[in-house]
């Protein structure tokens, strides 16, 4: 079936060139979140959009080989645990939950990449979490095969993907 393998050759070639740039753009939005507009949430959504583009252009087997369902769910949990770990380290170093314990008056000054305490670290962990979550939603809803019973008790598989 042709639609199992994804879209046409033009779409596949363009995606192959562009996927690195889109991923890099998402990483830029996440890491520079404390200096320019963006942050963890938009960057995470752009991460998820990269992988969804891969799934749509190449078909489901290729994308699931690149980042399978188990890896996506592990990244999701990893992002959440990292966020809580940074917040709990605030108790150890600063005395309060969530305190900003990395030195803020850095010798290189403000407006640099390495400023603003724990904020870039938290942005990275939120970016990983949101990206993995939204990619998992897409895989659950649109890629996985589902089985159900019809009225007579027989099993039918239905394809969830019906392209026009």
């Amino acid at each position: 079936m042709n639609e199992e393998k994804g879209m046409s050759l033009i779409v596949k070639t363009v995606t192959r060139w562009l996927k690195g740039f889109i991923f890099l753009f998402g990483a830029y939005i996440v890491v520079f979140g404390h200096l320019s507009p963006g942050g963890g949430f938009p960057g995470g959504v752009v991460f998820a959009a990269t992988f969804i583009l891969l799934t749509l252009a190449f078909g489901r087997e290729y994308a699931l080989k690149k980042i399978g369902k188990i890896l996506a769910s592990e990244l999701d949990s990893l992002g959440a645990i990292l966020f809580l770990l940074i917040a709990t380290l605030g108790i150890y170093f600063g005395g309060i939950f969530f305190s900003n314990f990395i030195e803020k008056n850095h010798p290189t000054g403000n407006f640099n990449l390495f400023s603003a305490g724990i904020i870039p670290l938290c942005q990275i962990s939120i970016g990983i979490k949101v990206g993995a979550s939204l990619f998992m939603i897409f895989i659950i809803l649109a890629v996985i095969r589902v089985v159900f019973e019809d009225g007579k008790g027989k099993l039918i598989t239905t394809e969830k993907k019906d392209k026009k």
Binding site: P37, A49, K104, A116, C122, Q123, A142
Partner: protein, 182 residues
């Protein structure tokens, strides 16, 4: 500025009416896209660039999810009959709600003067003046969501996690039924 926002809002209203009234399922899902797109442009005009980025990408993702999960080969049009009694009751309720809403909105400050300019001790003033000194971040919105109001971000991460868990749990029953019957 007000006129541009007003015109875009009128387009959004027309788009949403088309979305809810058309009989074709694919047209309904596509007609929701201008509502989100113009909403993102209005965010950009109002001085909120992070939210404009988020809104555009989330709207594209929601379109993909809706199309992939609800369009099937055998279901493309909607046949429905009008239920007049329910329709009239709903319109009466919406009209009463509209009147109350108009009365409540007369007490809001006019468009262009937010309430933190009228009250010098509001938290937004403190965040703007002391944001760079206390947190070190130049983007005041990032400083708010991760330093001053970090608990809200923690709650958001929890909600996102739980909703994915719920979606997976609802769809997982099928797999177990299949392995039990084979």
């Amino acid at each position: 500025m007000e006129m541009i926002i007003g015109i875009l809002l009128v387009f959004m209203i027309i788009g949403s009416i088309i979305c809810l009234e058309t009989k074709d399922l694919l047209s309904a899902i596509i007609a929701i896209v201008p509502v989100g797109y113009f909403s993102g442009i209005i965010f950009l005009l109002l001085g909120a660039p992070d939210i404009a980025i988020t809104q555009m990408v989330v709207e594209v993702l929601s379109l993909i999810i809706l199309i992939r999960a609800t369009i099937r080969r055998d279901l493309t049009t909607i046949e429905e009959e009008r239920d007049f009694f329910g329709l009239i009751t709903t319109f009466a309720f919406i009209f009463v709600f509209f009147i109350f809403g108009i009365e409540a909105m007369k007490n809001l400050p006019s468009f262009g003067t937010p309430s933190f300019t009228l009250n010098p001790s509001s938290p937004s003033n403190r965040y703007l003046l002391n944001g760079l000194k206390e947190t070190g971040a130049a983007n005041v919105v990032s400083a708010i969501i991760l330093d001053y109001r970090g608990y809200d971000t923690l709650g958001e991460a929890t909600i996102l996690f739980t909703s994915i868990l719920g979606a997976l749990a609802i769809l997982r029953v099928y797999a177990r039924k299949r392995s039990k019957n084979e």
